[in-house]
Amino acid sequence: MPSPLDIYKLLPKTNCGKCGEKTCMSFAFKLLSGERKLEECEPLFSPKFEKNRKKLEEMLAIVEKAKETGLIVNEELCTGCANCIVSCPVHVEKDPYNAAMGRGIEMDEPILRIEDGVVRVVNLSLCRRYGKERTLCVVCRENCPTDAISFVEEA
């Protein structure tokens, strides 16, 4: 995952404000979290920055895969141990006799579910990192033994 600084280095760094952000650094953060698109930076589309723009497009391709909470699952690293599912506070609250106890999740709209041997994001809108009341919950990532789960803004 690219870091905000990696992105910033490739931006015009003029703080022109045309994108609506006060600084290019702020724009870099918002590009990473998916709140802004590359097209909103006008100077970047001039021939002078063509090389940088292409690099940025490659760099941000992974961000496109990220969901609204910025949760990314690397399925190649996941072994389906279900630590993330059992430790998720939403699962614990809504499925106390299955997911919370370590059994296969049975709730109607789980956030995560083990499907074909790896964890899949099923219903991200229930995640505590989502919506107006969101909290900075990192439980699923912290309990993943292979670092298969990451969040965009931490990269």
Partner: protein, 390 residues
């Protein structure tokens, strides 16, 4: 359809197969259910199941010194038939237990210990000693030990569990223990030194590993703690379990139970059966005495491999001996052994998840398997070999 997974000794009973997808199974379980299947062959030629079994009967019938190896991934019923076949034919019988967790399972059988469900409901300190469940038994932590909120342990890993990982390297499980406030990673060089540290700490003295004092302090908080011993423990102790057993006796006052963390689905079932029938883990029915795995592989002229992949799991110096023997391979999935050993006969039975019968989980609990379509199961193959008819 709900099934019991037989990919490892967790024997997870909550696996759902629906609309072509497999739910709740870890990657190991998924690979067992959806991995590439072995093809029935005789001398390299594809054939049907019945012809392969018939050829196996002929090859096994002509054997002077047969070996039956594997069996720790098949159900108890197949294991019993295999032992009967070995008695009738004077074969040598062995599984992987002599190489890794057999002695640990023997130790657990000789002691009273909790079941994994009891530990899930009441257990506090889990010590994974020489075991990295992440690899061999992926759902062990989430189903039984560190993560579940169950019974008396409703606050789960946050406040109601304590994880200790003892290993020579920082394994994936060790990383979890190290970064958790309710966890501890002890990197050991010699297991005997750690045992010594435990014994000294019990007397209020400091040993080489001072971290054990914290583990003991945590143990005092609960009426149920457990050491889950894996193959690393067995290797670390160099086979001599006496000192470890002595430590367990001393830790009994702190309610510490010993439960093996073997990975093969039904190794405990095999060990229990072998101890009952022969008193050892590797037995030569031809000579009427126990033998080593190396002797087993070197003495045989025909090897019947059932539910195992010795080229992947047994040291090459031993397993490579069967390259010059006639091999009958009974395995549902493609394997390294199947690819490299030039088997005379390969039989691809039904996956053990659907074979019915029972398996014994690592904690000694019998688990009934799903299905019962015995027509093309391991059990059916063994029965045909025993009765010498398809």
């Amino acid at each position: 359809m709900r099934i019991v997974c037989t990919a490892c000794s967790c024997l997870c009973d909550d696996i759902v197969i629906e609309g072509g997808k497999v739910y709740h199974a870890c990657r190991k379980g998924y690979n067992l259910l959806r991995g590439e299947r072995e093809v029935n062959t005789v001398d390299g030629e594809k054939c049907d199941f019945e012809k392969a079994v018939k050829s196996a009967i002929d090859v096994f019938g002509n054997a002077k010194r047969p070996l039956i190896f594997g069996l720790d991934n098949v159900n108890c019923e197949t294991q019993k038939l295999a032992l009967k076949l070995a008695k009738n034919s004077g074969a040598i019988v062995a599984d992987h237990s002599t190489l890794s967790c057999g002695e640990l399972i023997k130790l657990a059988i000789s002691r009273k210990h909790a079941t994994l469900e009891e530990f899930r409901d009441r257990g506090y300190v889990s010590i994974y000693w020489g075991s990295n469940p992440h690899n061999g038994i992926p759902r062990h932590l989430s189903r039984f030990t560190y993560y579940p909120r169950s019974g008396k342990r409703q606050r789960g890993y946050e406040e109601d569990r304590f994880l200790v990982v003892v290993d020579v390297r920082k394994s994936e499980t060790a990383k979890i223990a190290e970064k958790s406030k309710s966890g501890l990673f002890i990197r050991v060089e010699k297991d005997s030194d750690l045992i010594d540290s435990f014994l000294k700490a019990l007397e209020g003295k400091a040993g080489k590993y001072v971290e054990v004092a914290r583990a003991l302090k945590e143990m005092e908080k609960s009426d149920l703690n457990a050491i889950f011993g894996g193959s690393g423990l067995y290797f670390g102790l160099n086979g001599g379990l006496e000192s470890f057993e002595g430590m367990l006796d001393r830790l009994a006052d702190l309610n510490v139970h010993f439960i093996p963390a073997n990975t093969k689905a039904n190794m405990r079932g095999f060990v229990e059966l072998m101890l009952k029938e022969t008193g050892s883990l590797c037995y030569d029915f031809g000579e009427g005495e126990a033998c080593s795995l190396k002797e087993a592989f070197s003495l045989c002229d025909v090897a019947l491999i059932v539910g195992a992949d010795p080229f992947r799991t047994v040291p090459w110096t031993i397993s490579s001996m069967i390259r010059e023997r006639e091999v009958i391979l009974v395995n549902s999935l493609k394997s390294v052994t199947g690819r490299l050993c030039g088997s005379r006969v390969k039989i691809s039975p039904e996956i053990s998840c659907f074979s019915g019968g029972t398996m014994v989980r690592s904690d000694g609990v019998e688990v009934r398997l799903s299905g019962g379509g015995k027509e093309r199961s391991d059990e059916a193959v063994m029965l045909s070999l025993l009765n010498q008819e398809v």
